[in-house]
Symmetry: C2
């Protein structure tokens, strides 16, 4: 760690090195799942492995795009700035998801992307993607899958999280934000962010969340009221549906 002294102690964004995609532990989950040895020979530009601290901006809406991103670890919110000045969180992406696909079409990003917690992402240069699309044959399927996933989650967030009472929405979000490997725990965000997702006011989110806690369905497991243990999963699912 020779260069340590020249790097800020708490950088918002830091360079962790050049990624070795072929050996990547989560490769099967991501864009490069189907690539062959030959395809990897086409890798010329380096793929940067980046770290973002919570609240750090990955990219901004309208910004000229340099690449697309794969999330190795963490959570990133896509924020849309409305003409009237308010903001809406369109979706939250997690491990294995791809961020900024839209850059492949217009060369610019459609949203602000902001880390919700400390996150690690790989930046894949646009040229590499275009190169692989032209000369390799195996990226196509992966791209289609990621596009499909984007539309699918977009529609899901619309249909699930913007329907029904405040209670239903909060319950739905809690279910959606369970950690994939530990379905009894759910990791949420600031009340304001949750409001921007659910189309509710922060106070309302707080109320409904507390109500779920008082009823013993959730139990808060940290000081900041972001992390909850799901004590009664069935009750939570019922709350998300109707009564």
């Amino acid at each position: 760690m020779i260069m340590t002294t020249s790097i800020p102690i708490h950088p918002e964004r830091s360079w962790r090195g050049t990624a070795d995609c072929q050996a990547c532990t989560i490769r099967k989950a991501v864009l490069f799942a189907d690539l062959s040895e030959d395809d990897f020979a086409l890798f010329h530009a380096p793929i940067d492995d980046l770290a973002f601290r919570s609240q750090a901006v990955v990219f901004r809406q309208e910004e000229k795009a340099l690449g697309i991103f794969t999330i190795r670890k963490g959570m990133i919110k896509l924020v849309r700035n409305m003409p009237n000045g308010s903001t809406r969180i369109v979706r939250v992406l997690r491990d294995g998801d791809v961020v900024g696909l839209e850059a492949l079409v217009g060369g610019a990003y459609d949203y602000d992307a902001v880390a919700l917690e400390d996150s690690e992402v790989c930046r894949i240069p646009l040229e590499l993607i275009h190169n692989l699309s032209q000369n390799g044959k195996n990226l196509h399927k992966g791209l289609m899958q990621k596009w499909h996933q984007a539309v699918s989650t977009a529609d899901g967030w619309l249909a699930d999280l913007n329907t029904g009472t405040a209670r239903q929405r909060v319950a739905h979000l809690a279910l959606k934000m369970r950690s994939p490997n530990d379905l009894d725990n759910t990791l949420l965000f600031s009340r304001q962010d949750m409001g921007a997702i659910l189309n509710l006011q922060p106070e309302t989110v707080s109320r409904e969340l507390r109500s779920l806690v008082r009823q013993g369905i959730l139990r808060q497991t940290d000081a900041k009221a972001r992390q909850f243990f799901i004590q009664l999963p069935n009750a939570l699912e019922r709350a998300a549906l109707d009564c």
Copy 2:
């Protein structure tokens, strides 16, 4: 027209012939915009040119997919059936839009697709798309664009049409549904469908719409209250934003 007598007088769905894509008048707007002469040589399966009457079902959610669709004329709604039994309209697609892209990934459709008015669509067999992806190089860009458009409108419908007061939403929808070639007229749907889009009750939609008419911003131009002339475009835009 030899077979005319054997065809029902008012078929919900009818076959209009085999499309000649190379000569298609709206080709520049659609998926095949960038295809070359050579690419068209790869067309083996026929592309059916179909007509659907208003309210006819183009395909159903979960149904095994035979192809993807390009809209030549008309409007098609994508309907999502929620677990609790209710339905949400996720978006409405129009001339030049592609319906059912998701079939390229999973082989099934993610929504019900229903014609909102009499419509004409071309059905492109899945094999043809896969074939062109493998052997032609020029479809890739078109597919990317259509995927991008799908995500973009999905997010737009979420952000624009599910935010703000009932009045703002109705105004927003009226703006979004202007005919592209005649920006002074807008074509809407049943109050129930509008409610399923805006996440409002039919009565509320009716009220707000009437209110816009009473204020002279809109003028109804048909008996069924589906078509409106926009008398004060500026006022409508202001209504969509804030006051």
